[in-house]
Symmetry: C2
Subunit: 223 residues, 2 copies
Amino acid sequence: MYSFTEENYLKAIYKLQEQSDANINTNAIALSVQTKAASVTDMVKKLSEKKLLKYEKYKGVELTAEGKRVAIETVRKHRLWETFLHTKLNFSWDTVHDIAEQLEHIQSQELVDKLDEFLGFPKHDPHGDPIPARDGEIQRGNFVQLNELKTGEEGVISGVVNHSSVFLKHLEKNELTLGKKIRIMEISEFDQSVQIWLNENSKMQLSNEVVRNILVKKGISYE
Amino acid sequence: MYSFTEENYLKAIYKLQEQSDANINTNAIALSVQTKAASVTDMVKKLSEKKLLKYEKYKGVELTAEGKRVAIETVRKHRLWETFLHTKLNFSWDTVHDIAEQLEHIQSQELVDKLDEFLGFPKHDPHGDPIPARDGEIQRGNFVQLNELKTGEEGVISGVVNHSSVFLKHLEKNELTLGKKIRIMEISEFDQSVQIWLNENSKMQLSNEVVRNILVKKGISYE
DNA sequence: AAATATTTTTAGACTTATCTAAAAATATTT
DNA sequence: AAATATTTTTAGATAAGTCTAAAAATATTT
């Protein structure tokens, strides 16, 4: 259907579009797919001819419905494979991305559907990101960054902003994994670092950098 | 490491080498990888430079140890993925090949090892073909073609010669699947078709064409 | 608004893997 | 062994995706 490379461009543009709602410019795409601006211009022309996106010279690009469909399909495959790798093959959450990056391009609708069924129709991947449904629908959990919670408020770790391997390893080492319940004890005036309550005998100090990159589902708040 | 295409050529040459022990010629490879002789010459030169095979103009090719290693590794991956598709995702044995043809090129040693473990270190794929071990060792069951059995002899279906989808579908429809026990009742003088005994109330007439393409593990013989 | 900086595009080249058509080598017939 | 047929290789072209360097357009600064 569409090539490995085309799918990667579409996915990258889709993700940029998610974050910005303005038209996506050449340099941003180049950065995202790890290539040069000149290459992006070439590819973008090609994708435009195939009606996968709208392109006007010097004005950036915007996905068409079909381009978006392909992008979401690719995201769906990526996240299903990540889930497979994590839940069935015991890969840790910081190692699944690179392999899923390859697996997401395997062509077979039946494979995706059967994988989905085998995994029990999961709603989230190992990082808490939503897995798009077959029809492209994405159920976004209304998560907030941990730094948005106030003292005394509780939440359950449900996702991450930063997906880098170093960050994920750091969380893993500190047992700050998905599903963990947290209560904000104190927020430092000095550096916005946060003391959190985990259980009777476990408190922890998190830097603002860490706190901003953790997504939580807000729980019942206490004063 | 090695490209999709390189792996496919090596696998094809390996399989041809299995069947023939003479040097493998250009046309045979072209047929096998579905390309033209000229393309094969180009690729074979490239693989020769990379020391994956020995090539002398007009004399055909022969894999080096490294070339064989890569080929067997690819076969291993192919058959593990086929097993996954069949036993975990419920793909029928006539549909697994094409998807495994893509999956076999995913690069990750850890993935292969974990998949192997997840599947319980299977010895055979859904067609009865042996799955090479991590070290490249291949445990070949000493199977014989069903037409080599004499009247009264028994065997268990353990593999197929013909891997085509039509043939596999035909066997499936007639419940001639792996593990099935068979006894030869009568071999026709006229067309070498064979009457087989399956159980008290089930006999079956198999054409010579079918019988030659079924591999069995010989059982105890009766007169 | 002119000058400068940044971004984007064009032009032309490179790589991988493929192809067709023709030439060269090898095999088979007669 | 000469003639014919087949196989293999070479030569030159094509497509996908990439690159560098220069030109063109847009944005920012002064």
